[in-house]
């Protein structure tokens, strides 16, 4: 019996471990036993699919999707664009990409955020889109501000946009954060530094992309997202369990 190819095993060396004491909240929220390694079954290789009926076309335009008519949010107007790829460098098409972020002053529109920077009445702070057949996606938004958070007394998050991606199988599910090149807070952020691999941090740092700017309108940053790849060759299966 042939099975669809499995996803490559997750290379844990590029990811944070569960327990990262400098990010204090992880201490009580990190499992301590080893995970059980599980080869893929149908439950892992499948995952939810989304279509254009699920979302609206303006959902990826954060300059507009919460703004009053003829108004727009305060801040540096940016385009965040890139491709969703897999480890085989193949595009991941038609996959849901969702983002959320603070406004230009570093304040989130969330009932639990009490930072003194003001809410922007024209900025919601979330967007979503489907990658196209080439894996390409884009958002328009404002560049988020840095903000302080309670960890050590004086920790500041670098400017960042949270990014959630699906892929085609539930084991590709990923939430990460996009940073911006040149930000001096990146190397001193305890959350960024949970990542043990310097190249992996660079891979989360969006680069200024002048070719994609809209002159006299918006500056652009390029942010590619890589999800786990999948075997394309048939292989002999070994009996699982028992």
């Amino acid at each position: 019996m042939t099975q669809p190819g499995e996803f490559y095993q997750r290379k844990r060396t590029v990811h944070p471990t569960a327990l990262t004491p400098d990010y204090k909240t992880s201490v009580a929220r990190s499992p301590r036993y080893s995970m059980i390694s599980l080869q893929n079954s149908v439950s892992e290789i499948t995952g939810p699919r989304f279509g254009h009926n699920d979302i609206d076309t303006d959902d990826n335009d954060l300059l507009k999707n919460y703004a009053k008519a003829d108004e727009s949010p305060i801040g540096e107007r940016i385009i965040l664009h890139g491709r969703v790829l897999d480890e085989n460098a193949r595009p991941v098409p038609n996959t849901l990409v969702e983002i959320w972020q603070a406004n230009a002053g570093g304040r989130y529109r969330h009932k639990k955020d009490t930072y003194l920077a003001p809410i922007d009445p024209n900025f919601g702070g979330c967007g979503r889109t489907l990658s196209d057949e080439n894996g390409y996606f884009y958002f328009r938004t404002v560049k988020p501000g840095a903000y302080p958070w309670r960890n050590m007394v004086n920790n500041w998050r670098p400017a960042h946009i949270h990014v959630s991606v699906f892929g085609s199988g539930f084991v590709q599910r990923l939430i990460t954060q996009c940073y911006f090149e040149g930000d001096p807070l990146i190397p001193i952020c305890p959350i960024v530094q949970t990542i043990p691999d310097a190249d992996a941090i660079d891979q989360l740092t969006a680069k200024l992309d002048l070719n994609a700017t809209i002159p006299l309108d918006s500056i652009a940053y390029k942010f590619d997202i890589v999800l786990r790849g999948r075997r394309s060759t048939l292989f002999e299966n070994r009996l699982e369990g028992n």
Binding site: R10, S41, I201, R238
Partner: protein
């Protein structure tokens, strides 16, 4: 030196943070922005099978419920088919089998309604016992946690399940088995997820 394999590396995970609701459940963050939020309706209107409720908490190493947790579930329909081209077979029109669930900000309790999934095909031969796949993110969780929930009233299927049987310590298997009760004629399954401690839930590197 040798050739470069030229694979890309998976993007590193980062915590979903305390404000994950803004992006994935903005209504809970306190504002209305999208025509429809995704993941509220797991089964659609036409799903056959037993309607059930699943409830629980995610509990941290101090024994406190996590009040800002977000869970996603992925499950087969009552026939054991996932809504996916490789999912094992047809599903009812409108059945997605995916849900997004957040805890109450005050109590940490979460719950959702769905249909009880059927047995799914095994990796090679045989079947897997009915189960739901969970993915858990929150502030302080650096990379989403994968686990599975099985059903207390599927003793025979659970005993034969290839994944439960992978767990060397039999007492740890019980951390994946939800306890059944009945409320107003509906089966309710309780699934408390322990992140640490003696009864730490089994998590999978999938």
């Amino acid at each position: 030196m040798s050739q470069d394999l030229a694979y890309l590396k998976e993007s590193a995970s980062q915590t979903a943070g305390p404000y994950v609701h803004i992006g994935l459940a903005p209504g809970a963050a306190g504002f209305d922005i999208y025509r429809q939020e995704l993941g509220h309706d797991i089964t659609g209107p036409n799903a056959k099978g037993d309607r059930i409720r699943i409830e629980g908490r995610v509990i941290d190493g101090m024994g406190a419920p996590i009040k800002d947790v977000l869970l996603e579930v992925w499950q087969a329909n009552a026939n054991g088919h996932y809504a996916h081209p490789e999912g094992g077979g047809e599903v009812e029109d409108g059945f997605r089998g995916w849900g997004r669930v957040i805890s109450d900000f005050d109590t940490g309790e979460w719950s959702f309604e769905t249909v009880k999934p059927g047995k799914t095909q095994g990796r090679n031969v045989g079947t897997q016992a009915p189960h739901l796949n969970f993915w858990i993110v929150a502030r302080g969780i650096n990379i989403g946690l994968n686990t599975r929930m099985y059903f207390e009233d599927e003793v025979e299927a659970n005993d034969a399940d290839p994944v439960l049987n992978l767990i060397e310590w039999k007492h740890r298997r019980t951390t994946l088995i939800a306890q059944r009760s009945e409320e107003g004629g509906m089966s309710v399954y309780r699934f408390d997820i322990q992140l640490q401690g003696e009864n730490e839930t089994v998590f999978f590197d999938v």
